[in-house]
């Protein structure tokens, strides 16, 4: 590693390629904002006063661009003793400094332009409460690698200085930084299988949402759909055309899933690093994300019917984040087989075969109570509909009710939970089976909830709050909930293991 000939103590600018990417980003965001307005002007064909508006918009966009270019020349980063520092800003200078000990993850991302010029975007994330974040739009690849190694090295040094008595840490630091073991590599065949088995319902929603958006756009532009509807003979809305439409949506959904899988997971590599996990993937934009062991609060994996038939799952590592449930702190790894999941769980939690852990089922009233409410509600709504709207809507209400009851039943059948000294596991899901595994010392707080019905029947819901969001089980016996609360609160209070 050419760490020696890189000097980070002197303030330096990002690569000049950064100008391109920053400009690109600026232009893109400006375009997105004004696109509807421009479209209205051009398509609407209203010529009065539009010239001034266009000049104004172009002027504003140019100013923004000039600003970002000057800002580029005014942005420096460097390392000062044990802090990473970024100075930026034209009029109001801003100085962000991050002590090495606070650095949590160093992620990189390469878009097509980055890769063309051999540069990369680097993002430094910090822990917990403070919102300091560090992003370099583009720096040379070898500089990035050097910086990354240096930061990890320095971080470990300072961590060791603090936890001098912890021999395990020292050992790990000595084994070197570059050491990483590949857990998984997704090749083209694998990618194909991941695409085919992914959740197509999500893609369908995307299509429908996109359709609605286009429709809305055109509507905004002043195209009148009402008229064109009336011209169309209503007979085309027959069974065949609906089937056709459904078919088209299904085919496009599958294609979108496939393309999405290729774009997101192309050439995916999943590594075990000295203290965490790392994933590199992407076709157009190559992303590198990492999660350190101590930052992972709980893991989750899911498997839909298609995925089960070929034995793969999606695994998500949930990391602690400052604003709970920020999606960027989740790392999702697709196409994991059982052995690979075992590998992750055994390195992370010293456990294997977690799907075979004993499961307790939740109370049956999770289903019956809900169904009763739905039936009563449907009857009430139906009678209102019968008197005030039309009898046809009763069919829709009943179908919707039946659908709700069926989904609830499936959810009931799939729900389960269990626990032992070290972990709590929770099972759930509807179309897919979901599993979550939570080490008990990661718990931040425990919540018991009871509705009046649950109070009458000695049931409760329990929620385990972690630094990566909360997970819970519904409709378990109150004695169970109380038992888990007492036991794990006691454990958390006694355990000196830090959650991060």
């Amino acid at each position: 590693m050419s760490m020696s000939n890189l000097d980070f103590s002197q303030p330096q600018r990002q690569s000049y390629i950064a100008i391109i990417t920053i400009l690109g980003k600026t232009i893109w965001s400006v375009t997105r904002q004004i696109l509807p307005a421009v479209a209205v002007i051009f398509i609407g064909g209203a010529k009065n006063k539009t010239d001034q508006i266009i000049y104004f918009v172009i002027g504003a966009a140019l100013l923004t661009c000039v600003y970002s270019i000057i800002n580029f020349f005014k942005t420096y980063y460097y390392i000062d003793e044990d802090e990473l520092i970024l100075e930026t800003g034209i009029i109001g200078r801003k100085r962000i400094s991050i002590p090495f000990t606070k650095i949590q993850t160093i992620d990189s991302e390469q878009s097509l332009i980055h890769r063309l010029f051999g540069v990369t975007k680097v993002k430094v994330d910090t822990a917990g409460g403070d919102k300091t974040e560090f992003e370099l739009a583009a720096i040379d690849l070898d500089i990035a690698q050097g910086l990354r190694d240096l930061l990890i090295h320095k971080k470990e040094e300072s961590t060791i200085a603090i936890q001098n008595d912890n021999s395990e840490n020292q050992e790990r630091a000595q084994t070197g930084l570059a050491e990483q073991k590949e857990i998984m590599h997704i090749d083209t065949g694998e990618l194909w299988r991941i695409g085919i088995t992914s959740n197509h319902l999500r893609s369908s929603w995307l299509i429908i949402a996109f359709g609605a958006w286009i429709f809305n756009m055109l509507d905004d532009m002043g195209l009148d759909f009402q008229e064109s509807y009336e011209d169309v003979d209503s007979s085309i809305f027959n069974f065949n055309s609906i089937m056709m439409l459904t078919m088209i949506i299904v085919i496009i959904s599958i294609m979108i899933s496939l393309v999405g899988a290729v774009v997101r997971h192309y050439d995916l590599r999943f590594f075990r690093t000295s203290r965490g996990f790392k994933m590199v993937a992407g076709l157009l934009t190559k992303k590198e994300v990492s999660a350190q062991d101590h930052k992972i609060q709980y893991i989750e994996w899911s498997q839909n019917l298609l995925q089960r038939s070929i034995g793969i799952s999606e695994m998500t590592l949930h990391q602690a984040s400052s604003d709970a449930l920020k999606s960027k702190q989740k790392i999702m790894i697709p196409g994991m087989n059982r052995d690979q999941i075992d590998l992750v769980t055994s390195t992370l939690f010293d456990r294997k075969d977690i799907e075979k852990l004993p499961q307790k089922s939740i109370d049956y009233s999770y289903f019956t109570r809900f169904s009763t409410i739905i039936v009563v509600l449907s009857i009430v709504l139906s009678s209102i509909a019968y008197f005030f709207i039309s009898y046809k809507s009763i069919v829709f209400i009943s179908l919707f009710g039946i659908w709700m009851i069926i989904t609830r039943f499936v959810r009931f059948r799939k729900s389960g939970y269990g626990y032992d000294d070290d972990h709590i596991w929770i099972k759930g899901g509807f179309i897919d089976g979901k599993y979550a595994l939570l080490p008990t010392y990661k718990i931040q707080a425990i919540k018991l909830l009871q509705s009046p019905f649950q109070r009458r029947n000695s049931l409760c819901n329990i929620n385990f709050v972690t630094a990566a969001g909360q997970i819970g089980v519904a409709y378990i016996p109150y004695t169970e909930g109380k038992y888990m609360l007492d036991r794990y609160i006691y454990e958390v209070e006694l355990n000196s293991k830090t959650w991060m």
Binding site: G129, A324, I443, A445, L448
Partner: protein, 175 residues
């Protein structure tokens, strides 16, 4: 490294069943009722204003009657819930954690161990300040779902509790 680790039966652990919760200060009931009255009052004022300036119809009988009925339908249960909520809210400080319960229809109990608390603060709303009350908020890394805010504490008690919790946090950090 040896550390004594005798077995503990879970049945012997301190249980949330055996907790004597401390209720919140009776003055807080007034604060809640005043708050609700102010909100309803503002709504009523807006309505009257609208009737005056925009549409005289709003003061005529069928509409006015419906609106008054609506106000009563929302306001009375609201006041009832606020009073009930006051009665059901309680907190307890144990050696190692804070327990807080609340809720009228849907009841919840949350336990936050002190060694997971990031920081805590005391705050006062304008009405609470007039009554000499404070709120104590305890923040954890779990975000808003596990932050506990105890409203309606006497301001001296709130300050004392804050000192106690802060002390607990710093002790944990030096261990």
């Amino acid at each position: 490294m040896y550390h004594p680790n005798p077995q503990v039966q879970v049945e012997d652990l301190p249980s949330i069943d055996q907790i004597n919760f401390t209720g919140i200060d009776p003055r807080y009931k007034k604060v809640s009722i005043i708050t609700v009255s102010i909100i309803l009052g503002i709504l009523a004022a807006l309505y009257v204003g609208a009737g005056w300036i925009v549409e005289r119809m709003l003061f005529e009988m069928p509409i006015l009657g419906l609106v008054i009925a609506g106000f009563a339908l929302v306001g009375l249960p609201w006041v009832y819930l606020v009073i009930k909520d006051f009665e059901n809210t309680g907190y307890a400080i144990r050696e190692n954690d804070l327990v807080y319960k609340e809720g009228v229809i849907f009841k919840s109990t949350i336990v936050v161990p002190f060694n997971r608390v990031q920081h805590c603060e005391v705050s006062q709303g304008p009405i609470s300040r007039m009554m000499g009350l404070s709120s104590l908020t305890v923040y954890t890394a779990g975000g808003s779902s596990s932050d506990v805010s105890i409203d309606g504490l006497d301001k001296d008690i709130a300050a004392k509790l804050k000192n106690f919790v802060s002390g607990k946090i710093s002790v944990d950090e030096y261990e």
